[in-house]
Symmetry: C2
Subunit: 230 residues, 2 copies
């Protein structure tokens, strides 16, 4: 991992690249090459699965992320032991939108949106970029929180490992809609077929039990109650 701040770079292409890593080998009809789809999938979540190779074996850990136009910022402590060096990672973000219940078990599946990003992350060490990256992470999960909670001091900043992964080499897969066996012989079976949607929803804020009762829930948190996440 390099420690220098990133040089100014041109914007990323609106089309996702086709590389050896991102080329869709299976279920090509579910692949998207639209960068807007990538951005939307990333913006709909805040926990990714980070894959690294440790002693030749895969390790996949959940961790929080945020993004800007070019970089995915990752809270790196969870994998810092595994990321000491210029090591490739794979970051996957998946939203499960429901079950696809077909007439035949063979055609069963899942409606989902998934993004896979490949690259070698750099550790962010420049204090200014680190603060910007942590703001990006914080605002990604909880918009409005950076200007509400106490921001990191110098000591906390030093104790935080932040990784930045380029959003250049990424691929997207999306499946939506009904099962695929509605026009085959199984359609005559009289079996119900369709989808069972799954939705993630924010609940009511739960105050810390030791919080003084006169501190109100701030508007930027309260307004999420009942809103869809993902």
């Amino acid at each position: 991992m390099t420690s220098s701040p990133p040089p100014a770079q041109p914007p990323l292409s609106a089309d996702l690249p086709r590389t050896d890593l991102t080329r869709h080998r299976r279920l090509r009809e579910q692949g998207s090459l639209d960068r807007a789809d990538l951005d939307a999938i990333l913006d709909a979540g805040f926990v990714c699965h980070l894959g690294v190779v440790v002693d030749g074996r895969p390790l996949v850990v959940p961790t929080v992320y945020g993004r800007d136009e070019r970089w995915l910022y990752l809270h790196g402590s969870v994998a810092s032991r595994s990321l000491a060096g210029d090591l490739p990672v794979c970051v996957t973000v998946t939203h499960v939108d429901g079950l696809v219940l077909a007439r035949s078990v063979f055609e069963h599946g899942v409606n989902y949106r998934s993004a896979v990003i490949h690259g070698v992350p750099r550790e962010v060490t420049d204090p200014d970029e680190k603060l910007v990256g942590l703001r990006t992470l914080t605002e990604h999960a909880t918009p409005g929180q950076w200007s509400y909670a106490r921001r990191p001091n110098r000591k906390e900043l030093a104790a935080t490992t932040l990784l930045a992964l380029s959003l250049e080499e990424a691929s997207v897969k999306i499946r939506t809609g009904a099962p695929d066996d509605g026009d085959g012989p199984d359609a005559e079976l009289g079996v119900w077929a369709g989808t069972l949607p799954l939705t993630s929803t924010w609940g009511a804020p739960v105050p810390d039990p030791v919080l003084p009762p006169d501190i109100p829930v701030p508007e930027h948190i309260a307004r999420r109650e009942g809103a869809r996440q993902g």
Copy 2:
């Protein structure tokens, strides 16, 4: 991957093992060694993130799974290209239960339940075990569906790649409850702190648009509407 059916084996230990791969290196207070926690996390979901090493680089893909007492069954086609051989995998299942909103940005976090399973999967080729494994997968995601939908025929069975991964080497992490900075100096800041829960809920079944209107939604699907998932 071996093709022989598994030999009869003693039950797994109620405690999860401490191995080089499962030992908790960070946030030990969040680690659980109770196999019942592992089972509960696996039962609360049906999509995992499967990590493999391809040409020395990590690849993480979402795929569906089911389990019995000893084996995690994985729909292997998504990674079959990457799993041609006795290759180690890492399977991670994560449920995100909400945001932990502390007084300071530094103490922010996520409430979650996560299981990580390490091992070398075997490809299930014995037709009887394959059918049992596919039933396990199907019933895991949609209880009641195996005896309702048309089951795989010989051709479909041959076209399906099913992997079985031992549940022996696994680790669990769980974080619940309020932020950790309620007893520190930041408690004087007057900042609201607590958690913002996130819940996954099954919606109303959506019939395939080409489904004849006289086919009713079966009870085992209809009854999930409004139920919590995860």
